[in-house]
Symmetry: none
Subunit: 354 residues, 2 copies
Amino acid sequence: MSAAKLTKVRIVGSGLIGTSIGLGLIQGGVAVEMVDSDPQSQLLANDLVGGTRLSSPDLVVLAMPTSQLPMVIESEFAINPNSTFIDVGSVKVEVELKVKTVSALSRRFLPTHPMAGREIGGASSARADLFQGRSWILTPSQDLEPGSKAIVLELISLLGATPIELSAVDHDRAVARISHLPQVAASLMAKQLSGTPAAWMELAGQGLRDTTRIAGSDESLWKEIIFSNRAELRELLINLQNDLGSMVEALEDPEKIAALIAAGRTGRDLIPGKHGGKAREYSYLPIVIDDKPGQLGAIFNECAAMDVNVEDLSIEHSPGQLSALITLALSGSDAEKLSSHLGSIGWNVHPIRK
Amino acid sequence: MSAAKLTKVRIVGSGLIGTSIGLGLIQGGVAVEMVDSDPQSQLLANDLVGGTRLSSPDLVVLAMPTSQLPMVIESEFAINPNSTFIDVGSVKVEVELKVKTVSALSRRFLPTHPMAGREIGGASSARADLFQGRSWILTPSQDLEPGSKAIVLELISLLGATPIELSAVDHDRAVARISHLPQVAASLMAKQLSGTPAAWMELAGQGLRDTTRIAGSDESLWKEIIFSNRAELRELLINLQNDLGSMVEALEDPEKIAALIAAGRTGRDLIPGKHGGKAREYSYLPIVIDDKPGQLGAIFNECAAMDVNVEDLSIEHSPGQLSALITLALSGSDAEKLSSHLGSIGWNVHPIRK
C-alpha cells in the first residue's frame, strides 16, 4: 500500500455529516475547506470548523444526498483531477453504478457510508466526535488505486471510526434491515398519533419518545434513501405487515401475544451492546430548582467556582409546577464534588445516577 | 374536601412500581409496609425501603398486574376495612368493573395509573424519583369518598407527580395509542432482526437502538396489558398494518414515500417537548462558547439580568475540543432580546432558528 498523508481535505456539502467531518479533521491537524451551495450554511460551517481556502486537496468529500452527486461529481473531478474522492451516502449500489460511468474517476472514487447521524440535520448539529467508535463502511471497486484507499483509511482513523469493507449489495441489504426498516417503522408508528387529543399526548412517556424519535427525520432525505433501496426494503416491509396481522389475530389469546412480544425481545437481543457508539461514562446529578430566571445561572456559577465541567444538561418542567428538574451530566468525580457542595449550601440535590 | 394526612401506607406488591412508591414515601416521611406473596421479594423490598409492620394504614397500594387483583382485593379490604385503596395498573375499564362488584369498596377504591416505568422491572430497579415530573392518571368513580381522593392526591404530590383525571374509557383509549401501540410496533420491528448476520448487526446505530428499546420489555407483563386493552388496540394495529401496505405501494414513487415520512413527522410533532409538558413553539439560539468552566454561568447570568427564561438547553462538544456549541430554547421574544444583547457584548451568537 502506498504511503498516504492526509493534509488537505475539501468538503463539499456542509450539512450534519460534512461539518462533523470538518470538525473532526481540524482537531486532527488537517486543513479543511468547507463548501456549500447555501451561503449561510457555508458561513456557519466555516465559523465552527475554522476552514480555509485550499488548492489541490488530497481528498474531496462529497457530503450530499446521492441524487445530487451527478450535479457536482464531474465538475469536482475537473477542478481536482488528482484528488481522491468519497461520498457518504446511505445506499451504495446506485453510487457504484454512477461512478463506473467515468473510468478515470472510478480508480480514485471510493463509495463510503459512515454509520452515524442524528435526527437533527444541519451544520449547527454537527459534532467533532460524531464518528467516534462508529463503523464506516467502504465498498471499494476492484480497480481502486491503493493510494486512494490508504487516504480514505487515514480519514476514517483520524475521525475515530472503524473501517468495514462490504460489497455494495451486502451493504444495501444490511442497512435495509438495521436502518431503513426502523425508519419506516418509526415514521408509520408516529403517523398513528395524528388526531390524538392534546390532553392525551401530555401523557406520553419515554417509550413513545424513543420509539418515534427518528420519525422527526427529514422526508426529503429519506424519500431518496428509501426509493434508492426499495428493492431490499420491499420484503422486509411485507414481513412486518404480516406480523402486525398475526398480532391482530393473537389479540384473543394472551399466550400468542406473549410469543410475539418474546420474539421481539429475541430480535432486540441481537443488537450488540457496546458497538455503534462511543461509550460516554457520565454520572447524572438531578437537582430540583425553582423554575425562574437566575436559578440556572446560580448553579453554573457554583460549577465554575468548583472547577466542574458540565458535559450535558437536561431540563424537565412539569405542567403547573413551579419547580423544574435539571439533570447535569458530569464526570464521576465532578458529580461527587458538586453534589456534596450544592447539598451543603442548601440546593435540593438528588442521588447521583450512573 | 376532607382534610387528609398520609402517615401510613401498605404497599402490596414489591416490583418496580411498588418499591419505587415505597422509596419515595419514606423520603417524604411516611411510614411504609411492603408486602409481597414471595417472602424473599418482601424481605428485599423492606430492606431497600426501610419498611415496618403497620396497622390501620391510611392507604393500601395494590401494585401488581391487574389479573392478580381479584386474588387479593377482598382479603385486603377485609383486613383494612377503613383504608383507601388504589391500584397502579395500565388498563382501567377492567379495574373499574371489578371494583364495582363490591359496593362498599368502590367508595374507597380509586383506580390509578402512574405514567412511569422502566424496561427493567423488579425491586432492584426501583427509584425514589421514578414519578418526579410524571403524570399520574386517576379514574375516580362518581361515588368515591372525597376523603379517599384527598389521600391519593397527597400520595401523588409527595412523589412529585402531577394528577390527571380521565374517565376509564378515555384512559384506555389514550394509553392504547401512546403506550400499547408503540410497544407492539417496537416488538414487531425488533422481531424482523431475527436471522440477521452478526456482522451486519455490528453496524447498528442509535436509530435502531431507540426504535427497539422497549422491545426488551417483559412479555409476561405485556401479554396482560395488550390482552386487557385489545378492544382499543385492534383498530390501531389494523391502521398501522394498512399504512405499511401503503408504503409498499409507494416504493416506486419518491413523492408518495415523502408524504408518508412527513405524516410521521407531523405525528411525532404532537409529542410535547418535555415529560408531561406542553408542546410549545420555542426559538433556538445557538452560541459558540469556549469549552471551560465559567462560560455557561456567565451566559446564564446574562439571561437572569435580561429576565430571560431558558426553557431548555443542549450542549454539543467533545472532549478535547476547545469550543462548544450551546443551543438555548427560548420564547421568540426572549430569543431576539438575548441574541442582540449577547451579540453586543461580544459573544459568538449565531442566527436564531425557529
